[in-house]
């Protein structure tokens, strides 16, 4: 009630007039009433009424916050947070090594960034997550839907279909082994068609379309409340060329990061971004670093870097608030994103062991 007039979300012209007329607090405005206000400032009665309604809403919102109400308030105790975190869902990646270093999988309400060289498997992981988020709860999933925002055109429907088929097959094997009622029931609705129908795909061809889409995302998520994953495949691509004004770029990226953090929190979704690597020239050498600059590094809560060691793909957890930094190997198979298979015991005994780090070149049995 004692809120300063200058901080009210009214139009600037109106605010200026109120301050010039000498109004200082919101209470004064409410006490004056619409007619008195219109006479004193010289605006129409309708405008005055509109302004007072805005003020009243603001004050009601403030009161709710101070009384500890729920909804828009973001205050809670650490115990409440602990309970929330423990029941928090994780989206598994089907690579148990990666899930382990992430502490269970890709976490909901957090932004995870995947950086890597071209062709290392970032889009593959994104497609895998878009399928895995839909796994029913009885199989250990979060039963959500996915939004896939593609800026590079690397989303391949056929590949996503392969990954989805393998995931359904995996769940079918579990159901056969356990023979439980809810497993079989869940499998009735968990099929290739339903998985693909719940991946909402947006193709953004430049940064303006990307900005526009992110502005519209909260509305979309309110309409599709089951979405638990938002993937932006290629946050770097639209911002990497033709930006002479780097400060504008930084500002737009920061704005995007803020909006994504709010989306992740409000809608209890995981946000996954993929970033490119760029060459930075040092004194005598150059090295590959994540693109978009140093300040972008603050945007994501969890940062994974995918890279190569000769012929083995590795994932390094680079930044995480709760997990240790570590590196694990992974593979991309025809079924999707998977662990590296350990060598079979029999061949070891013979002495001619297969190099376990080689990527299988032949099609595996499906």
């Amino acid at each position: 009630m004692q809120r300063d007039v200058g901080s009210l979300p009214l139009s600037p012209a109106l605010r200026a007039r109120l301050l010039a007329a000498g109004f200082q607090t919101a209470q004064e405005l409410l006490e004056t009433g619409p007619c008195g206000l219109s006479k004193e400032i010289g605006i129409s009665r309708e405008e005055a009424l509109e302004a007072l309604q805005v003020v009243r809403q603001e004050c009601a919102g403030d009161a709710a916050k101070t009384a500890g109400g729920s909804g828009s308030t973001r205050k809670c105790t650490a115990l409440e947070l602990l309970e929330e975190e423990q029941t928090q869902g994780f989206i598994i990646t089907f690579c148990s090594a990666l899930d382990n270093i992430l502490g269970g999988g890709v976490q909901l309400t957090k932004i995870t960034e995947i950086c890597g060289a071209p062709g290392v498997g970032k889009t593959q992981l994104c497609m895998q997550l878009a399928v895995d988020v839909q796994i029913p709860e009885c199989f250990g999933g979060v039963a959500g839907e996915a939004v896939f925002i593609d800026t590079e055109g690397s989303f391949m429907v056929d590949r996503a279909a392969d990954i989805a088929t393998a995931c359904v097959r995996h769940c079918q094997l579990i159901a056969e082994a356990h023979q439980e009622e809810d497993h079989l029931q869940a499998l009735e609705t968990f099929s290739l068609e339903s998985i693909l129908s719940h991946i909402y795909y947006f193709r953004c061809r430049d940064y303006i379309e990307l900005l526009a889409q992110v502005y519209l995302l909260p509305d979309f998520l309110s309409e599709h409340s089951k979405v638990r994953l938002v993937v932006i495949d290629g946050i770097a691509f639209p911002f990497r060329h033709d930006f002479e004004d780097l400060s504008l770029r930084t500002r737009l990226l920061n704005g995007l990061a803020q909006q994504l953090i709010i989306i992740a929190n409000d809608h209890k979704s995981a946000v996954v971004l993929t970033n490119q690597m760029t060459t930075r020239f040092g004194q005598n050498q150059s090295m590959l670093v994540p693109a978009l600059g140093e300040s972008w590094g603050h945007a994501a809560t969890v940062r994974l870097i995918f890279h190569w060691d000769n012929t083995q793909r590795l994932a390094t957890l680079y930044k995480s608030p709760s997990q240790k930094e570590s590196t694990i190997p992974y593979n991309i198979t025809p079924q999707g994103f998977r662990d590296v298979q350990p060598p079979p015991v029999t061949q070891n005994a013979e002495g001619t062991e297969m190099n376990p780090r080689k990527r299988p070149r032949r099609e595996e049995e499906k």
């Binding site: 279909a161 991946i199 150059s286 080689k358």
Partner: protein, 414 residues
């Protein structure tokens, strides 16, 4: 080569496809548009790049109203939503439209059909390996009727090296599909559908790419080939000069996004060719001297250049840098194996694993050698931007040193 001033005038402000949409068409009121134009805000791009406070200032509206306006303008710019299922259904209605088979059957099988439509495919190789032969073959294939695996359409061939030979085109067509091209009529009909453009500067290449949209519609184009991107870029940009690296990345990124737009909009394949460069282990790339392949592997020259005196390992990889490797969706590498045979390598593909195939170049173009044993492969799949490429000298060296032991089951050396 280019001063900063010269390029500034060329690289005018970002022109996205949706961005230049005028605010009038975003259904904002006339008076609001007029008011905004006084602040030089006329397009959706101008509007969306401002912060909320700035927008409140220029529109004079309250916070809540500004958010409503933002949503309105965003609706005008944002892309349409499709579900993955709808995309799959669309593709299955017209399966032949998803790929252009290369007529190299083992390669097509691994690629799930062939060169994908709607994305960029890059072909990299040392000189003389068969890039242009491959491109010419693909041109012929695109003009074939759908029943024979073609796209029944015309081809735009942007040639920057003047390497295209019409006679070779006819030779390949006649030898590869003798039953189809049984008359001169058919051959001439095919050659009429291949539109050749000779572009010799980066600017003209970019202009040509921008004009593609209209040409595709008017001429019913089903395949675009640019042979090669690297030659024209390397002529004009010298990455050792300050600022040139950034300019080059800019040019390449703009070209790539224009080409991606065209490829996706019309669902056609785009094939680009690239050259090779020598990449030192510390990451600095020196453009490979194409006149004398021996220079590629001359370590002494390379260590001399870096000045450190240490022996760094150098390897030959695809040119044009790391960002370009991100921009292409599929990367095929052609390289030398021994005196006669060469290899085609799938180095980057969203649908296919790393694979290699042996081939030779003959009258009918590229011919796969399916019988050859694949386990002699000395190279394994790694970062597509750093995948080493075998040039002529190493191939000759290997051929001379290699034993004739080719038993299956040899595990390749790591």
């Amino acid at each position: 080569m280019h001063t900063a001033g010269g390029w500034e005038t060329r690289l005018h402000r970002v022109q996205g496809i949706m961005a230049t949409k005028k605010l009038r068409r975003a259904k904002l009121s006339q008076e609001l548009c007029e008011r905004l134009s006084r602040y030089q805000i006329t397009t959706c791009q101008d509007f969306l790049c401002l912060s909320l406070l700035e927008l409140m200032k220029v529109t004079g509206e309250s916070y809540r109203n500004v958010q409503k306006l933002l949503r309105k303008v965003s609706l005008a710019c944002a892309p349409k939503m499709q579900t993955a299922y709808e995309m799959k259904v669309r593709r299955s209605i017209n399966p032949s439209a998803a790929f252009l088979p290369t007529s190299l059957h083992s390669l097509d099988k691994v690629l799930h059909g062939g060169i994908p439509c709607g994305s960029l495919t890059e072909l990299t190789s040392p000189p003389g390996c068969g890039k242009t032969q491959f491109c010419i073959t693909m041109s012929v294939l695109a003009t074939l009727p759908v029943s024979m695996g073609g796209l029944d359409g015309a081809v735009i061939y942007i040639d920057t090296e003047s390497a295209f030979s019409a006679e070779r085109l006819i030779e390949i067509a006649g030898n590869r599909f003798p039953t189809y091209f049984d008359s001169d009529e058919k051959l001439f009909c095919m050659t009429r559908s291949i539109h050749l453009y000779r572009e010799l500067t980066c600017d003209s290449v970019l202009k040509r790419i921008k004009s593609l949209e209209e040409e595709i519609i008017s001429k019913k184009i089903k395949l675009i080939i640019i042979d090669s991107v690297a030659s024209v870029v390397r002529k004009e940009f010298d990455t050792k000069l300050q600022g040139n690296l950034a300019e080059r990345s800019n040019f390449l990124a703009r070209g790539a996004s224009l080409l991606k737009y065209v490829a996706e909009e019309f669902s056609i394949p785009v094939i680009l060719t690239n050259q090779i460069t020598t990449s030192l282990s510390n990451g600095l790339a020196i453009p490979a001297d194409l006149v004398s392949p021996a220079h590629d592997l001359s370590l002494s020259e390379v260590t001399g250049a870096s000045g450190s005196g240490k022996k760094e390992s150098a390897c030959v990889t695809a040119a044009l840098g790391n960002t370009w490797s991100h921009s292409v969706n599929t990367r095929l590498i052609l390289q030398y194996h021994d005196l006669l045979t060469r290899q085609i390598v799938i180095a980057k593909s969203p649908v296919a694993p790393f694979s290699t195939f042996f081939y030779t170049v003959e009258k009918s173009g590229l011919v796969l050698q399916d019988g050859k044993n694949l386990s002699n492969l000395p190279w394994e799949g790694t970062n597509p931007a750093l995948q080493t490429i075998q040039v002529r000298n190493t191939a000759l060296g290997n051929a001379l040193l290699k034993t004739t032991d080719e038993t299956p089951g040899d595990t390749p050396s790591p």
